[in-house]
């Protein structure tokens, strides 16, 4: 798509948008959910089935928490059928899947005389990822190094993460702390270039010279990074504790042709 093409100035834009729909229609034994293998009719093959965290038990909810055998500061999971207890039969549900609502990208290119400038923004929206990185580095036991996250204390009544407890190496219902939105917006690259005019290159006895600045993945926006201290949630399935770092690359270059 060309937005402007006027004299020395040209601006063009590429847009791409993708949506993938996926659901299980039928299994070997018919249109019946197979809980043991996490296969659910009407859901993607990667559906996540677990309890649903809805917050942290707060000080003024102590009695209600106790009725669920929970203490203030522990994870509050949804009692989906409201029967007054948390049980595997009735209170697990589909948390999400790896299938995003959509992915999209936009590339803009600008040319003015010998200068060119382009950038590419990419986004994925609506998937759920499993971050074992958080299971391993967010045990809230006090015995191991921990991610610097927003955890509950009597003076910080957050609903994000439970109260640290030296007597447990992972919190009750800790599996619910692994699920994060897979949504991100990334600036994949930015390029700025300058083509040295022909009369100058002829004097230098070369056929062409291009000078450029390039940035690879200079910006990476996601709640997973900013709020939950993850590294990079651009992954298909799960993020292990040995995840390699999301790199950012800046290049200053000269492209010379003889």
């Amino acid at each position: 798509m060309i937005n402007i093409d006027k004299g020395d100035f040209r601006w063009s834009t590429d847009i791409q948008w993708t949506k993938n729909k996926e659901k299980i229609v039928e299994l070997a034994n018919g249109k019946v959910d197979d809980v043991g293998n996490s296969r659910f009719i009407g859901q993607p093959i990667t559906a996540i089935y677990d309890y649903q965290k809805i917050g942290i038990w707060q000080a003024d909810e102590a009695d209600e928490a106790a009725s669920y055998s929970r203490n203030v500061g522990e994870i509050k999971v949804a009692d989906l059928n409201n029967d007054g207890k948390i049980d595997a039969d009735n209170d697990r549900t589909i948390i999400g899947s790896q299938i995003p609502d959509f992915t999209a990208g936009i590339t803009n290119r600008f040319n003015y005389k010998n200068f060119d400038f382009s950038f590419f923004i990419f986004t994925r929206v609506g998937s759920t990822i499993i971050s074992s990185f958080h299971s391993d580095f967010n045990s809230l036991a006090g015995r191991y190094n921990n991610l610097d996250i927003d955890y509950w204390t009597p003076t910080n009544p957050t609903n994000e993460f439970p109260r640290p407890n030296v007597n447990q190496e992972s919190p009750l219902n800790s599996s619910t702390l692994r699920y994060f939105s897979g949504t991100f917006v990334k600036v994949r690259n930015i390029n700025l270039g300058y083509n040295v005019p022909d009369d100058l290159t002829q004097k230098m006895k070369i056929s062409s010279l291009r000078l450029y600045l390039a940035a690879q993945q200079p910006f990476n926006f996601s709640k997973y990074r900013s709020k939950y201290k993850g590294i990079d949630n651009e992954t298909f399935d799960s993020i292990g504790s040995a995840q390699s770092y999301a790199t950012r690359q800046f290049i200053i270059g000269a492209n010379v042709k003889f």
């Binding site: 809980v35 043991g36 055998s69 595997a88 015995r143 447990q168 009750l172």
Partner: protein, 554 residues
């Protein structure tokens, strides 16, 4: 151009066809098919694999978590992931990974046994003699019974299968405890005549008649107070345990300390043990129990971690009830078992002068040469003056804390090659003669035969006496009560994978934990007499919780 392209296409197709036939010729050599069981070597390997399934319990952390934790005699130390198994909090539910792994391993072992029994019974093994066949089937039944016994004690109503499952299935239902005991007893009774009375050195660790009779006694004793109880159970327990004592050559070691001496593991008192070794190829995860009972000696003044003193994971801390009631200080001059069960002295292996981090608040500085006593646990309270007079730190009961407490020494493993090695080489004693005497005593008490009970108890109490104190250790028929036996069992078998099952068998699990386990008292309820069934089993059973319900309370 077009002709060239066609030629290229044909060549590619031809090459593809040629490649295909080669792929079909491949023979996978890295996998063992089930036909391997039809050969003698394969069948013997399969039997060994069923023995190996016992290692998923004996020697693993789950065994002590299930038997030592959450009792009246041990509570949690400062470290570990499974304190909730001691505290009986809501975390102790259907997603406890070590319970899921144990459940899966035991059923996998059971199924291997089933397949091998089916195969041997249909003469499907080439070259297996009739005698060898009968013995191996008997061993497999012994092991299968053992697995079901562990499962039903922990989980109550469980799925039973005595035929091999070779195709995936989701059809499981729960059998009642009575049905499970019927399978266990049928297996043991069928196995008994075909088991050898003794095995040679090369076969040490295989099931014998003595091991089978010991187990029969234990099973009957346990069944006698279960929902499957029958009036003949105690009598059967007494009969089989006296067989073990009278009909074989087992004998108590002369000295209690010798029983757990690592250089004396295959001793006359051991009826059946799960084997570990110092061969890293076959030792697997090893016997890890040496890690769990130790206190944090290694950060104290004058001490660093070494192989002899062990790698302290500080999981299991003795309760006051164990240290002051069961091992009553007043009896320690007669009964040697406190001294011989707990480590009380640490010798400095990191000499120097230390002025900070001292737990013994009667001194501001300690100085040790190599080999000097650095820490001493007298086991009773000392006055401040008594403590101050010593050059070393004195750990008295009032100073015990979650990381400092008397350390059970039965599992210390100084033969490990490195400080950090967790895979220990000690065998796990599943049945030893002292336990047989105590089973006999318990059955006789229940049957009202106090004198026979006292006689059995006196056998182990005389052995436990300090030299010259034998007669003072003896008890009379009127002393032989259940109350006495409940304590005597722990004096003899403290830490030996027994206590939780004992308390459950006696029906006192909840009351004893409430009375004597400071960390478990608040959480325990009567439903904790059973463990939570792994959620994966429920989810993978046809009809899920309708057909395979979770145990109540979880």
């Amino acid at each position: 151009m077009k002709a060239k392209f066609k030629l290229f296409l044909y060549l590619t197709l031809l090459w593809g066809v040629a490649g295909c036939s080669q792929i079909l010729d491949e023979v996978p050599v890295s996998q063992v098919g089930s036909q391997y069981y039809n050969s003698l070597a394969g069948f013997e390997g399969g039997v060994n694999a069923v023995y190996t399934s016992m290692r998923s319990y004996y020697g693993a952390e789950v065994s002590t978590n299930l038997s030592v934790f959450g009792t009246d005699t041990y509570t949690n130390g400062s470290d570990g992931s499974y304190k909730y198994m001691n505290q009986y909090t809501a975390s102790f539910g259907s997603n406890v990974s070590i319970l899921t792994n144990l459940w899966n391993s035991l059923y996998s072992g059971i199924n291997t046994a089933n397949i091998l029994i089916d195969l041997a019974n249909t003469d499907g093994v080439t070259g297996l003699s009739e005698a060898a066949k009968n013995q191996r089937i008997a061993e497999l039944k012994f092991l299968r019974a053992h697995a079901y016994f562990l499962l039903t004690q922990n989980w109550g109503n469980i799925a039973i299968s005595v035929n091999g499952i070779t195709n995936p299935t989701k059809d499981f239902t729960k059998a009642t405890v009575a049905e499970v005991y019927a399978v266990i007893l049928a297996d043991l009774i069928a196995a008994l005549p075909y088991l050898p009375t003794t095995v040679g050195n090369a076969d040490y660790g295989r099931a014998t008649q003595g091991a089978c009779e010991h187990m029969l006694a234990k099973v009957y004793l346990t069944k006698a107070t279960s929902e499957a109880a029958e009036s003949t159970d105690f009598e059967n327990a007494a009969t089989y345990s006296s067989h073990v004592i009278n009909n074989y050559s087992y004998a108590l070691q002369s000295d209690y300390a010798l029983v757990h001496d690592q250089s004396n593991q295959q001793n006359s008192e051991i009826i059946w043990a799960v084997q570990y070794s110092n061969d890293v190829l076959t030792n697997g995860s090893g016997n890890m129990t040496h890690l769990f009972f130790l206190m944090e000696y290694d950060v104290q003044a004058g001490m660093i971690r070494d192989i002899a003193n062990g790698r302290p994971w500080k999981r299991y801390r003795p309760t006051d009830y164990l240290l002051n009631v069961i091992f009553n200080p007043a009896d320690r001059s007669k009964d040697s078992r406190f001294k011989k069960s707990f480590k009380d002295t640490w010798l400095s292996n990191s000499p120097g002068t230390f002025t900070s981090g001292l737990f013994d608040n009667t001194k501001t500085s300690v100085t040790f040469a190599s080999g000097d006593t650095a820490i001493y646990i007298p086991g009773i309270e000392w006055t401040v003056e008594q403590r101050a007079a010593k050059k070393f730190q004195v750990l008295v009961p009032s100073l015990y804390q979650a990381n400092l407490y008397p350390t059970l020494s039965k599992y210390l493993d100084p033969l490990r090659p490195e400080i950090g090695t967790s895979a220990g080489s000690r065998d796990v004693f599943v049945a030893r003669l002292a336990d047989t005497y105590l089973i006999l005593a318990e059955a006789n008490i229940k049957l009202g035969r106090s004198q026979q009970a006292a006689d059995a108890i006196n056998m182990i109490r005389r052995r436990a006496a300090w030299s010259g104190m034998e007669s003072e250790m003896e008890i009379t028929a009127s002393d032989a009560t259940m109350e006495f036996l409940m304590q005597e069992r722990e004096r003899e078998l403290s830490g030996e994978l027994s206590r939780w099952y004992d308390l459950k068998r006696w029906g006192v699990l909840v009351s004893q934990v409430q009375a004597y386990n400071p960390d478990g008292a608040a959480g325990i309820q009567s439903y904790h007499n059973l463990r939570p069934i792994p959620q994966t089993q429920i989810d993978r059973t046809e009809g899920t919780s309708t057909n395979f319900p979770q145990n109540p309370g979880y």
